[in-house]
């Protein structure tokens, strides 16, 4: 817990500079090869291969039902709970196939955090929400260590100043935007390498959305971030790499500027210019 040093917002040095390099120069964090996903007999994803790089924000865009959320959920095996769901292909994180027989799903999900579309704070206090993951994973040994880790996570999610005087109030009393940042803090607390975000700002007003986007920009110094979004302006603003999905297929992936201004595929162009979707 104490080993990782600075709070994400303040760390400069290596990772700070790293963020300015082109995305393609960053090491591959998650390598996906020929991934297909089935809900029973229905095939939801077709042969997806993509490299997701460290300290880069990758955005998944595409019309509703194109499989981008399904794909995101294969990266921390959240789809495991769906009956009759089946995965083919490999997803390797840090060189290990996460669908391998020896993989501990619980440990995987600790390392690959997730933030959901609708903020889902537990009906507990603000403090207990952030402490939840630390406690269940046995990551702290003392109360002071716990308090320190909670503070660090809340600072990391740019929420500390707003809640520091009411840590023991219920999380349900926070505003929608604050609840979502609390969920981000909760995910950061367990020290993941990767943070998956499933339309994290779609239920928020423009000001709260802007705060989340600024936060994402800060977080990429320390984490690999994958964000699903319906909002193309948002993808353009926050991401370095954009992947366009259509009918369960990965149509195009590349630097965000390229995908939005001079895409290779006609489909991508039609979508980003608003001709369908």
């Amino acid at each position: 817990m104490t080993s990782s040093g600075d709070t994400p917002g303040l760390s400069v040095s290596l990772s700070g500079r790293a963020a300015h390099r082109p995305a393609a120069e960053h090491p591959v964090k998650i390598g996906v090869t020929n991934l297909s996903f089935f809900y029973g007999d229905k095939r939801a994803l077709h042969d997806i291969s993509i490299d997701l790089r460290a300290n880069v924000v990758t955005a998944f865009i595409g019309p509703s039902g194109c499989g981008k959320s399904t794909f995101l959920r294969t990266l921390n095996r959240m789809n495991d709970v769906i009956p009759r769901a089946r995965v083919e292909g490999t997803v390797s994180i840090g060189g290990r196939d996460i669908y391998g027989a020896d993989v501990d799903v619980v440990e995987l999900r600790r390392r690959v955090g997730m933030v959901f579309q609708k903020s889902n704070p537990f009906p507990k206090s603000i403090f207990d929400n952030v402490a939840y993951g630390l406690r269940i994973n046995g990551m702290v040994n003392s109360r002071s260590q716990l308090a320190e880790a909670v503070e660090k996570s809340l600072r990391g999610a740019a929420l500390w100043d707003e809640v520091k005087d009411r840590l023991h109030d219920s999380a349900m009393a926070l505003s929608g935007g604050q609840q979502q940042r609390l969920c981000i803090a909760r995910a950061l607390a367990v020290e993941p390498d990767v943070v998956l975000m499933d339309e994290p700002a779609s239920a928020l007003d423009p000001i709260a959305t802007q705060r989340i986007e600024e936060l994402i920009y800060q977080l990429k110094r320390d984490y690999t971030i994958v964000i699903v979004t319906h909002n193309m302006q948002q993808a353009a603003r926050v991401s370095d790499t954009t992947a366009f999905f259509w009918l369960g297929k990965l149509i195009e992936v590349g630097p965000t500027a390229t995908v939005f201004t001079s895409p290779r595929e006609k489909l991508t162009e039609d979508y980003v210019t608003g001709r369908f979707g």
Partner: protein, 282 residues
């Protein structure tokens, strides 16, 4: 008559019917409460709570033994039924799609419909006959068996109402399935579950039939679990069918105390759920 005014009239008629139905349903309740309170209050005094029943022919005395007995058997019943009921409810909601869960659900609904006297006979068979002894434990067992299906079904339904995103949030943080259920899903549903438990308690506190063969009755004060024990319901029953005027008055008082016990339980539960919801919501 114009179209709008006809629609307004129809609407008023339906609302009127609804109100009338509510009134009809409330009338018996009001009468029962009125009679129990007005009759019971006359023989309710300190003696009723502190003294033992007097032998036939002597007036006065109280039902201290039965009040304690009712608390004992309902307490034992809850002790037995609350954990089993809640855990069964968790199973039925967690494995909702499985055959075993469907069978359990059907069994719970059937058990809920079994006449209470049959459950009394069953408890007699397994908890009285082998020991050749009526006991508070046997009474608690009979009442517990009646509580289990109510608690299990309430728990199941309330757990299914907890948004799936709550569970996913816990899983995404590295919680195991059991951990997610017991540390997040179940606590979210807890206020409702407490209400369900109290409703079950209120229902069984008024049961007489299952206690006739199990806890039986006792003219003396006891807190021993392996001894027969008097309960308010059985006392009310015995006293009400007796030929003595004084016993009839005591029976009314017993009924009133029983209603109060249930009322106090409900109020405590209401208070507890309010506090819980308060802690969770703001």
């Amino acid at each position: 008559m114009s179209r709008t005014s006809r629609r307004k009239l129809l609407s008023a008629v339906f609302v009127g019917f609804c109100a009338l139905s509510v009134l009809t349903a409330l009338v018996p309740l009001a009468f029962v409460l009125f009679f129990v309170v007005s009759e019971g209050i006359q023989s309710l005094n300190v003696d009723f709570f502190t003294k033992m029943p007097k032998p036939v022919g002597e007036t006065g005395g109280g039902m201290a033994n039965a009040i304690v007995g009712t608390l004992m058997v309902t307490g034992l019943g809850s002790l037995f039924a609350v954990p089993i009921g809640i855990l069964s409810g968790v199973y039925m909601s967690e494995y909702a799609g499985t055959r075993f869960a469907a069978a359990a659900r059907f069994a719970a609904d059937t058990l809920n419909g079994v006449p209470s006297i049959v459950i009394g006979v069953f408890a007699y068979g397994i908890a009285v006959l082998p020991f050749k002894q009526f006991s508070a434990l046997a009474g608690g067992l009979a009442l517990g068996i009646m509580m289990i299906p109510i608690i299990a079904r309430t728990t199941e339904e309330l757990l299914l109402l907890v948004p799936g995103t709550m569970r996913e949030g816990a899983l995404a943080l590295g919680a195991t399935r059991a951990r997610a259920v017991f540390s997040v899903v179940l606590p979210s549903a807890l206020p409702g579950i407490i209400t369900g438990v109290v409703l079950a308690l209120a229902r069984i506190a008024g049961e007489t039939a299952p206690l006739l063969f199990t806890a039986f009755s006792n003219r003396f004060f006891t807190t021993k679990l392996n001894q027969p024990v008097a309960t308010l319901t059985v006392m009310v029953y015995t006293y009400a069918i007796s030929p003595y005027k004084d016993w009839h008055r005591q029976a009314w008082a017993g009924a009133l105390v029983l209603i109060f016990i249930v009322l106090i339980c409900s109020l405590l539960a209401r208070f507890a759920t309010r506090r819980l919801e308060g802690m969770q919501a703001r």
